[in-house]
Amino acid sequence: MNQYTYFFGCVIPNRYPGVEYAVRWVCGKEGFNLDVTDQPDFSCCPVPGIFYSTDKDTWLLLAARNLTLAQNERREILTVCNGCLASLLKATEYLQEPKNLGKVNRVLAQIGKKYTGIAKKQAEGKRKIIEPVKVRHYVEVMSNDVGIEEIAKKVKRPLKNVNVAVHYGCHYLRPTEHATFDDPNNPVLIDRIVEACGAKSVDYEDKLDCCGAGGGVRSHVIELANALTADKCTNISAVKADCIVTGCPFCLLQFDNAQKSFTKEGIPVMHISQLQALAMGVKPESMGFDTHQVPVHSLLRKLRGS
């Protein structure tokens, strides 16, 4: 069985604690009982739109610091955010280059850390193989390690009659050289989890489009970010979806906050883990929906009816 360590990042603990609750519940004893621990010394991944964009050396150092913490415990990093996934995964690839690795370790020595990767045992006489620290996405772990059938088995309250618009988010899919666990041109994993929960995943136009928030656009030109979100929401309303489900808390934040700039009645947004937790019988009150800007009442009413 794989061993993981949680990496919640910044948006979830500080803006959407309900997602943290749902992930802990789904992975915990009452859920799939995964072997997963907390690493209290993780920092921001760091956020690619800021650090990868302005100084790659600093970005790599901060990411390597996080990676060493998981490496020392020989655990896989379980991210719940597309940004953390992109940032940390790219960092492990950079660190496979001896030149980058040497440069990073010279600075990490100042704080008593060293990135080595994880040594794999080999048959005698063969060279030791060093593998990068594994960085996994929650959706990938759920689909591949837990399995869609298992997910369906644990569903206590199937979300009948609920139409879900799935939004994957850019860094889940692209660039393709990094994300290999799903088809970037026709991703299916989140849809499958949604269907396993008993809900219906509805197709809509431009499903793979960007939410608009990434790369610092939300922070820099919020009108532009919101205009992209408005387009997505128009397409999602057209198919009468009851809620938007995403695997990325930053997309969640964008959909949740942007909607009030162009519509009065927004479409509820939640993380895939929250949808799973609802289907597995967790009480909605304990899932911190109060922190969501678009109320989820309409969806919960529909659930009670079903």
Binding site: P13, D41, I50, D55, L62, Q110, G215
Partner: protein
Amino acid sequence: MTREVEKTFIGGLHEELVEDKVIDESQLEPDFPDQIRKYGGKDVMTCLQCGNCTGVCPISLKIDYKTRNIIKCCQFGLKKYTLGTRWVCATCYRCYEHCPADLNPAEVMIALRHIAVREGIIPPFIKNTAASLVKYGQSVKPDAEIDKIRQEIGLGKIRAEDPEYASVIREIGVLIHATKYDKLIGIHEEVKQ
């Protein structure tokens, strides 16, 4: 997208090209493609100007920012025409997926951002987020209301508040200081040593 927003955030490219009309050699920086390569972009000279990147770019559909034009300016070394346009890329990497020359325009935009901050063009959000990281270890500022909700649903307090987390913040300070990022962005006063 309103004209106002376009003017504020990406103004320069369209208007200036029309106004100046004639671009003489003094405006060209022949080593601009090399600078882009230095910061991790691929060789912009390989761009075929096919426009696939622009056709799939969600931002190009909305405002007067056209990925292909920016790459063209990079090829010519027209550095000043790329100023101010480089922060609107959402780094969605669609251009990369559709680029027949395997140029990865998104990485070119990222290289342009590297050049911009080194020329002192630093949007406030970069500074604020970096300052938040050196202060709290998180790029999102902790919020007292959220902390209350965390405790109501049985989650622990946010780590940034924990005295034991101070050692992590100190480590981040050391790393940021080592690359001189604090000076580059102008947050050296916030960095604890």
